[in-house]
């Protein structure tokens, strides 16, 4: 694939689970990076790492419209106009729904749904005015449907999916594409999965993936680059799963009926 030619990509939620895979892929494809999160320490760690390209920088923004707006202004002053926005979902807080606290529920809505909204809106204002831009909201499989014990994550990621649909209906005509990228289960997600009420072991999770292996950073990165590139210029409002067929599988049958016959 051709390069992203020094385009500027903002990664919001840069210390979150799948952010480094996204940042690395963007950097490798030639994009310049502006990495943003709420905490300074984690960002400094990411900014200093090997996947940082020239002109990249790290920022800290609170989850308010004013703070996000101000940071976006600072990014533009220092690095120029933003071409690509990537928002990343937070790690889940897993608990049986009867025990879920209102703080945890509100927390997930803030760190996922509000986070995506604030960044998309702030970047969208500029992109719509410029008549071009692309956004990718990185969510998770629990946003595709019911996941026992994952209520706050599932509800808040589902909100991002519909936010994406709505923004796409408003902004695509102005040259701004808005999509979601749904990472498959990677090894790094196992610790969260193992916290759930049914507490599956590693092999059970692996058997649940029709593709027969865990997702890698490169799987996610390649899909992200595809979505932000001009080859995907008619794709907007899409929820692209990179999940090895996890979500479509009806789970009544063995993955390989031919093997099961033996």
């Amino acid at each position: 694939m051709a390069e992203l030619d020094g385009m500027l990509a903002v990664v919001a939620g840069a210390s979150r689970p799948h952010a480094s895979a996204c940042a690395r892929a963007l950097s490798r494809a030639g994009a310049r990076l502006a990495l943003v999160d709420t905490g300074e320490t984690t960002i400094a760690g990411l900014a200093g790492s090997s996947h940082q390209n020239d002109g990249g920088d790290a920022y800290s923004a609170e989850l308010s419209a004013a703070s996000v707006g101000a940071v976006l202004e600072r990014i533009e002053e220092r690095q120029g106009a933003v071409d690509i926005l990537v928002t990343c979902a937070a790690a889940p807080s897993v608990a049986p729904s009867v025990e879920l606290s209102d703080e945890d529920f509100r927390g997930a809505l803030v760190s996922n749904a509000l986070h995506a909204f604030l960044w998309c809106q702030a970047a969208g204002r500029k992109m719509v005015a410029a008549g071009r831009g692309v956004m990718v909201n990185v969510t998770g499989l629990s946003g595709m449907g019911g996941w026992p014990g994952w209520l706050s994550q599932s509800a808040s990621l589902g909100a991002i999916h519909n936010l994406t649909h709505t923004l796409a209906t408003e902004w695509t005509r102005h040259g701004v594409r808005v999509n979601c990228l749904v990472p498959g289960i990677a090894e790094l997600d196992l610790s969260d999965l193992l916290k759930t009420p049914e507490a599956p072991d590693r092999e059970t999770v692996l058997r649940r993936i029709p593709r027969g292996r865990f997702a890698t950073d490169d799987d996610l990165g390649a899909a992200l680059i595809y979505l932000v590139r001009p080859e995907a210029s008619f794709i907007s409002g899409e929820i692209l799963r990179v999940d090895g067929a996890w979500d479509v599988w009806g789970r009544y049958y063995a993955v390989d009926p031919a093997a099961a016959k033996k």
Binding site: L141, S142, M144, G145, G146, W147, P148, W150, T196, E198, P200, T204, V205, R208, P210, A245, D247, V248, W249, G250, R251, Y252, Y253, A254, V255, D256, P257, A258, A259, A260, K261
Partner: protein
């Protein structure tokens, strides 16, 4: 088995149910009769059809067997017309006939593909069209298609069945849009596994889960009971649902909602 939870009065109505010789279809035919309708048991297997007719008549219900291969468009059209001529009305048409022949997709022959699609997708369309032509003229009517949760979910080895059922869901939505303004409602139900002969056929195939696994996978932790599906059919056939069309109602113990392990 009497199912009378909903206050549904179908007195004087005429219902045609395909694949009604056994399983779901026979339960629907019986339920329509018990709520006052005449049921036409459209069935390919003559022995099953005659037995079903006999069992309903022995209970004092008004049912009649009509031999039918739903994959034969002309035969479907002829049955719809004959029913209308005989009774002077056609109120309910249920496309229920189905067939389960699961196997690895690389082994599916053209004949098997045509058979499955012919019965479950083409057969459903022929039924909708034949009934629809009469109902549109009549200015009212209810069509109910039997889809499946497998129209939403994917499973290895079920290319034919699941593709047909997915097609039924979208066919239902399309006809719901098209015929809604003319007072012909088209809806579907998507059952999870129920204890029917077809389900028993399904679990025999290679790679199929055991009944225990089906139960474990379902958030309700059980298979469906036939009266639960019958209630859904009665609801969709009744005036309780007059604003519902183009819809597929899942009767599935939340299996399609569960995207987890």
């Amino acid at each position: 088995m009497t199912t009378n939870l909903l206050d549904v009065d179908l007195t004087g109505q005429v219902a045609v149910i395909t694949g009604a010789g056994r399983g779901f279809g026979l339960a629907f035919a019986r339920a329509f009769c018990e709520h006052g309708a005449v049921s036409v048991i459209a069935e390919l297997n003559e022995e099953l059809g005659r037995t079903a007719e006999k069992s309903l008549r022995e209970d004092g219900l008004r049912a009649t067997f009509a031999p039918l291969d739903v994959s034969d468009a002309a035969a479907v059209e002829a049955l719809a017309q004959a029913t209308y001529q005989r009774y002077g009305r056609l109120d309910i048409w249920v496309n229920n006939a189905g067939i389960a022949r699961h196997m690895p997709s690389e082994d599916v022959t053209v004949e098997l593909w045509q058979l499955g699609i012919g019965v479950m997708l083409s057969g459903t369309f022929y039924g909708c069209q034949a009934a629809g032509r009469i109902m549109l003229k009549q200015g009212r009517g209810v069509i109910i298609n039997i889809a499946s949760v497998n129209g939403y979910l994917a499973q290895p080895g079920r290319a034919v069945y699941n593709s047909a059922k997915a097609g039924v869901i979208h066919l239902t939505a399309t006809l719901g849009c098209e015929w809604g303004p003319r007072n012909v409602r088209v809806n579907a139900v998507a059952p999870n596994v129920f204890m029917t002969e077809l389900a028993r056929d399904s679990i025999k195939f290679a790679g199929a889960a055991s009944m225990e696994t089906y139960i474990k996978r379902c958030p309700a932790r059980r298979v469906g009971e036939i009266p639960e599906l019958v209630q859904a059919i009665l609801f969709l056939a009744s005036p309780h649902s007059t604003y519902i069309t183009g819809q597929t109602l899942r009767v599935d113990g939340a299996i399609v909602s569960d995207h987890y392990l």
